[in-house]
Symmetry: C2
Subunit: 529 residues, 2 copies
């Protein structure tokens, strides 16, 4: 048997509550305080309460439901288990329930491209990575036409419910869709599921999004291996870029799992208003100190989005976007003095990229900047300028796509299965505009608590493109949190000593402390050793 087959046969543990699915009754717990601005946008959804499920007596089975599901945005490990959890729970509630998958993301909903998901088909996708069962996509449902077409689709498909698996934007969208359906007397209920490897969809209700644990474990495996390599050959500095553009949770989690010599955290850089130069000086200082101790090797973690946290770089990008939009040819000369100075120090290849490589809207493509190479270049230049005797032989590395479509860890597999089941229960209870919510995730799976949180209960107003918009807020790394403070206390020692940890590959068999471990940043009483 291959791991592929063995994982397909794995049966996720489920929360105790979910073992008596048909007896559960949805129960309004605390109501959320209402907000008059939100009330204008969501007149139907405004007065919702947090949902808990309590044990009742065996319900008469509900009528059969037809439920659609779609994936929105980048892959995250466990997505297929949301589908199987949903399917299994619906079939337990009523054997005639049907699940429809929309293909390639929200565009499948807009264009009514769908397929029925049957038991034999799903069996080979249980506990598997990726979203390939139905695919995903980045279409945003924004225009009136798109909303109208979505409504048409759910009516055509006769959907009782629609489950949207996505990040903060997609779940914001789910709320608008739920409201739209209610406004148009459409009975289709909408439930969101929190997905994103970046870990930035979390709040007082949602402890973590799914996919984060698997991505962090996959990257930590690679980082640990690389640390062994650095320690063995004693000649390379590895500059490792990690996925996570808006928030540095993944980098922080991987740092706590492996203890690198230098770790950049975007949120801290922004808070301290650190310049690129300062970051480079910081890295060069560590390299020189280690060199004096006879160590010309090390491991440096850099979050993908770091440059966007550096105020001066953000400014430079904004000026470039502005100038490029006007088709000004002598871009460099038209920059502000500060930006001109910053631009001058960049490597030629990056200058060219900034000037030439634009997205369809004419903007600089920040996500394409190879930050790990940028830092190698800048640190090399800095050491040259210092006439440093330290030897820097640097290797760039990007921990990216391999982490988001990996086999889900048991944590993600079980979390997602429970999320899918909870989505089914919320639909069965006639709820709409909710996100499936599992709490007490650091406890045994059996003790996890299931519920639903109103999507608009997580919303705030943000200025986007000059307009006030209601959105689900992204959670950034909190530099005042216990986890960050612990990291902050230890990193000086990590810089000079080789306190590396080697987490190794994700294990699916063996002691449960290994197979069922939860993210470090989730543990209030966390232990990094």
């Amino acid at each position: 048997m291959t791991l592929q087959q063995l994982r397909a046969a794995f049966i996720p543990k489920i929360p105790r509550q979910l073992t008596q699915l048909t007896k559960l009754i949805a129960h309004d717990s605390s109501f959320l305080s209402s907000n008059s601005e939100l009330e204008k946008l969501f007149p139907h959804l405004i007065n919702q309460a947090m949902i808990r499920f309590v044990n009742g007596t065996e319900q008469s089975l509900k009528k059969s439901m037809t439920v659609g599901i779609l994936f929105s945005g980048g892959q995250a490990a466990g997505g297929h288990n949301v589908v199987t959890g949903l399917f299994d729970a619906l079939k337990t509630l009523h054997p005639d329930c049907k699940v429809i998958g929309f293909k390639n993301g929200p565009s499948g909903l807009v264009n009514n491209q769908a397929m029925e998901l049957t038991a034999p088909l799903l069996d080979s996708y249980r506990n598997q990575g990726g979203f390939d069962l139905i695919g995903s996509g980045r279409t945003k449902i924004e225009t009136d036409t798109q909303f109208a077409q979505s409504l048409k689709t759910v009516q055509k498909q006769g959907l009782d419910g629609l489950v949207i698996v996505g990040g903060d934007d997609s779940n914001t969208n789910a709320a608008f869709l739920a409201e739209y359906f209610l406004t148009h007397q459409c009975s289709t209920k909408v439930i969101g599921v929190p997905k994103t490897i970046d870990g930035d969809l979390k709040n007082e209700f949602i402890e973590i999004s799914f996919g984060f644990d698997t991505a962090a474990k996959t990257y930590a495996e690679i980082i640990g291996n690389i640390m062994r390599d650095a320690l063995s050959a004693k000649k390379y500095y590895y500059f490792i870029k990690l996925m996570g553009r808006t928030a540095s949770h993944l980098t922080l989690e991987c740092a706590l799992k492996t203890h690198p010599n230098v770790v950049l955290i975007g949120e801290e850089v922004a808070e301290k208003k650190q310049s690129l130069k300062q970051l480079v000086v910081e890295i060069a200082d560590v390299i020189e100190k280690r060199s004096k101790n006879g160590k010309d090797y090390g491991v440096i973690l850099i979050p993908e989005g770091i440059v966007e946290f550096v105020p001066e770089f953000k400014q430079l990008i904004s000026e470039l976007n502005h100038l490029l939009a006007q088709d000004i040819t002598e871009v460099e000369q038209n920059l502000s003095d500060a930006s001109k100075a910053g631009f001058k120090d960049l490597p030629e290849s990056l200058k060219n990229q900034l000037l030439e490589d634009r997205d369809p809207h004419g903007n600089v493509q920040v996500s394409k900047i190879e930050t790990e190479r940028l830092f190698i270049y800048l640190v090399e230049e800095e050491l040259k300028k210092r006439n440093s005797k330290s030897k820097l032989s640097a290797q760039p590395l990007f921990c990216g796509y391999e982490g988001r479509s990996a086999y889900p860890s048991n944590f993600d597999a079980q979390y997602c299965y429970a999320l899918g089941m909870t989505a089914a229960l919320l639909l069965n209870a006639g709820k709409t505009g909710y996100m499936a919510c599992i709490q007490r995730l650091t406890a045994q799976v059996e003790d996890w608590e299931i519920g639903g949180v109103p999507l608009i209960g997580m919303m705030v107003f943000e200025t986007r493109k000059g307009k006030q918009k209601a959105v689900i807020q992204k959670a950034l790394v909190d530099t005042k949190s216990a986890v960050f403070q612990e990291f902050s206390k230890k990193r000086a020692a990590w810089a000079l000593e080789d306190d590396y940890l080697f987490p190794g590959p994700i294990q699916f068999f063996g002691p449960s402390e290994l197979t069922d471990s939860v993210p470090v940043i989730l543990q209030s009483n966390f232990n990094t050793k």
Copy 2:
């Protein structure tokens, strides 16, 4: 308990023969035919036989021995287990035996930088990745002074034996060292151990080198994850470069484990005298065909050393080296017409690198060429030239250092432990100039056969830098082998269908067919499904 601790506690299975260590008697099996040229170089080592071990009666324990060990060259998973196997076997043979580790590779031997390896120290390195217990290095023992200094070191340390863990070059060196010690009436015996993730140290005696299995499994995990990602998002072509400069075994093994859309094998390219252009056309053809089937995604495997197999590129490099050595400034104009044409088609960044980035001998640094990016550039150009409608959104990826310092798979952990024990037995039997040798590796560990093969029995004469040199021959991929034929038969289907496999991370617990699997290319009756 962490995986790090759990692996340290893992007890490798050992071949049945090794359970009765103290009863084993070395036995000359077949003698190798002698070669008069080799006889001149190795007058003392020339008449050696393959060694087998047979059960005798309990031996009187031998006198205590002091044995040195060193790692030579790049990391490979399992190195620490060679040390623990050696240590445990020596201690079983005589409790007063001592093991000395030479630091940072052969230079530790030349300069007598050593440390005693004790039981408590070794305990935390059992079944761990990397070579960090004592480090490794790439110094070659070549000069008379180096040989003399090595002799001095082994005498000063009072070594009865010296174990050299390395690839083909290091083991060639071990033979010269063994001969040198004999010539100088030094009683230190030399035993080699076959190490290299590239898998090119193998022959009729050595079935595979250690580290290959773990590297292949680590890369296959990443490739499988990436395939899931390609299949889910349906928008990227991943150009994945794999370690392996001289031989493409790792690429072939990973291909059989995952079924990519295109796989380049260096040896085949050389045999068919394929040009860079032909390879690019081949890839572009697959991309266009897939695009017509609605598939604008895929995975392409490229061995690190591919450009050195392309005749025209080899020629270009050779001309560049020649011109650069003469400090000719107008290099491009002085190339032959064929090379000029080839050079012209390269991206600017690579042209600059070829002209400017030289090693200490003034040669072009072929190993620094980012082949995955070169192919992306050339394929993009090719599609442009064709006015192709295929969308190519390409992502480069390098499977490298994370594979050579990973936790050894059970196969490598057990293979290395047995190699270390066998090295102890060969030394105990007074053998020198041998390589520890484990055969029947596809059988149960219990049934593995242990022995020793004369190092010079694996040697041939090769022209290196214009001189005939005796070397252990590198094993290249044999395009006539059953394994290659099977691959060759299947790849047309892999190109167009998505027949991807997802091996997932190495498992250390669970069903033994998973935890103890052996490389596909080792299995004569292999099964790629």
